[in-house]
Each structure stands twice: as C-alpha cells, then as structure tokens.
Point group: C2
Chain length 200, copies 2
C-alpha cells in the first residue's frame, strides 16, 4: 500500500468526519498533503470511491474491536461490556470514525441506491449475538436483542459525537467532568439493563 495513499485516507477520514461528504472538496483533502486534487484522483479515480475506502477502513476497525472484546473475556456479559466500554474509552480525538459513521447513518439513503453495501451489517449482527449470549437473554427475540444493543450503542455514539457541542455549552472543565463520569455511568446502565429481571 502506497505511503501517499494512506495519507490521503487519513486526511479524508478527518475532514469527512468534520464537515461531511458534501462539505469537503477533493481539493481540500489534497491541500492537506500539499498536493493537487489530481494527485488524489490518480489514486482514487473519484471522490465517491475515496469515501467508500474510508468507510471500509472504519468498519474493519470496528470489527476488530468486536474480536478483541470477544477474546478478552469468557463471560458473554463481560464481552459485551468490554466492547461497549472500549468504544467510549478511545483516546480523545479518535472520534473521527464514530462521527463519520454517524454521518453515513444520516446520509446513506442517498448512497444506498448507488453503493448498495451495508458496512454496519456484520457489526450489528455481532452485537446482536453478543446480547443473545448473555444469561437471561437467550430467549429474547432478535428484535429485542438488537433493540437493547442498539440502545447501548446509541448512548455511546451520541455522546462521542456531541463533544464539541457539550464543550461549547458547558465549558471545557465541566465537559471534562462529564466525560469522566460518563463511562462509570454507562457501566451502571449496562449492568442494570443486563441483570434486572426481564418483564415479559
């Protein structure tokens, strides 16, 4: 894999996450490396294909996080917990992938017709399996298991995406306190959701 190619992908991921597909021009991305947009097109033939490769890289990374969580614990509940916490305990500033996936979630009604690939599908299936493996959840319907997984995933993703806004509203120091309280509070909610007796 070419060095320049990789740098293009890095720059594109950061810029697409910040401003969205329409908000960034291929010239903007090329400027980041001090090159012209035609250098970019030489490596990726079109803006749409570059975007696709960025998405692929992110979804691969998510799959890898799932694998790591699965290998790190024996108990299904622990696996799920570790995975979810690994999502929000990422090094600060590493929210680009999460933010970009959120944008994709909002935009892909447009892209679905053309691209036709659902990058999140294997990831969501793994999430559902993890929930259904938790004691007390074996007999939940796929819809119920996915609903719970999606709610926990949403809680994390929504917060990860809100960084700049929350910092703007509450100030940097209050946000710091919130970011610190968040994982503990999340762990508490996960435990409560997984261990409370199901009402059905």
């Amino acid at each position: 894999m070419s060095e320049t190619r990789e740098q293009f992908l890095d720059a594109a991921e950061a810029l697409f996450a910040d401003k969205g597909f329409y908000g960034v021009s291929i010239a903007n991305i090329a400027d980041e490396l001090g090159l012209t947009k035609q250098a970019l097109l030489h490596h990726f033939t079109s803006k749409e294909k570059l975007y696709g490769e960025v998405l692929k890289r992110i979804s691969d990374h998510f799959d890898q996080l799932v694998d790591e969580a699965r290998a790190s614990a024996a108990e299904p509940a622990d696996q799920l917990k570790r995975f979810l916490l690994s999502l929000c305990a990422r090094p600060p500033g590493d929210t680009a992938g999460t933010r970009l996936l959120m944008r994709e979630l909002l935009d892909n009604k447009r892209r679905a017709d053309t691209a036709g690939t659902w990058y999140l599908k294997p990831f969501l299936e793994a999430l559902t399996d993890m929930v259904k493996a938790v004691p007390g959840w074996e007999r939940a319907s796929p819809a119920e298991a996915l609903a719970l997984g999606y709610q926990l995933l949403g809680a994390i993703t929504y917060f990860a995406v809100s960084g700049p806004t929350l910092k703007g509203i509450y100030g940097a120091s209050d946000y710091e306190a919130l970011a610190e309280a968040f994982p503990d509070q999340l762990q508490y909610v996960i435990d409560a959701a997984l261990t409370s007796p199901r009402s059905r």
Copy 2:
C-alpha cells in the same frame, strides 16, 4: 406569519434533515414550492439565516415536549419516562427534527464560531433537572445526572436517525418488528437504570 414563509421552513427542515446544510441548495428548497431561489432570499436574506430559523423552530418544539411531559405526570420518574417515550413514539416520518439536530451536533463546531447560540442548552438543562428530581438521584452530581440523561437521549436519537439504514440492512418487515420492540425495550432500560440501587 406569512403562508409562503411557513412552507419554506417546512421544506427546508425536510431537505436539511435529509441531505444536510451543504447537501441542499436554496434553489432545491425553492423548487419544492415551485418558486425561484430569489423568492426564498426575499423572505430569509441568506441560506444561513433560513437554517437558523429552522433550528429555532425545532428546539422550540422540543421544549414544548418537555413542558407537556412535566404537566402530564406528578412523579418525576414518570415525567422523565413520558418525555423520553414521547420522543420515540412520534408519528413515523416525523424524525426530520431529530435528524437535523443530530446533523447540527456534528456540524456546529463550524457554526459555533459564527452563530454562537446553543439551541440545545435549555433543553439539556431541563433533562438534567428531571433526572435529579427522581427519588434516589437527588444527590447525584450534575455530571452524573446529565450523563444518564444523555445516554437515554442518545439511545432514542440514534435509533430515530437510523431508520433508513436499518430498513436497508434488515428489510422493511424486520425493521417493523424492531421499531415495535424498541419502545418496550427502552422502557425496560429506563426502569432498570432509574430504580436499580446506585453503586457509590
């Protein structure tokens, strides 16, 4: 308030929610009413101002939902629950506001410098107050209360935003089952999070 003005706001809300600020041109919006973009500029002087008015209308609607939930129940826990459920029990297709706010969350690092207004602030403060009013949560720190509120809010918002993608991945009928299971599952998580003994 002019009739045409209102129609412009409706069309703009729907289109901005679908494609984002950069993804929609003022000509697109005007086309929706069979008018030219200069008719739009006559009412709103600039694209940025139109966008601001759309945001304002949505945040007003959210504030109204909070008020309704507060008036509809005596118990703080019930108020919170009713409010959160009213968010996800909206008539289908009414997710435009939610989706647009999600986009704003992603974009307003850019807009914050210019606009300077935090439409979500009063709404988040109301949310925090509701959590802190729940028995057992009075002594939680603001950060802890907000963290919980934000997690529940995120669970709902994330799902509301994912409609098209989930429909694409699982098909319309499976998605229907998921959308039906979601509120019950959410209620279960809310109850679990609010009533379980806090661990501190």
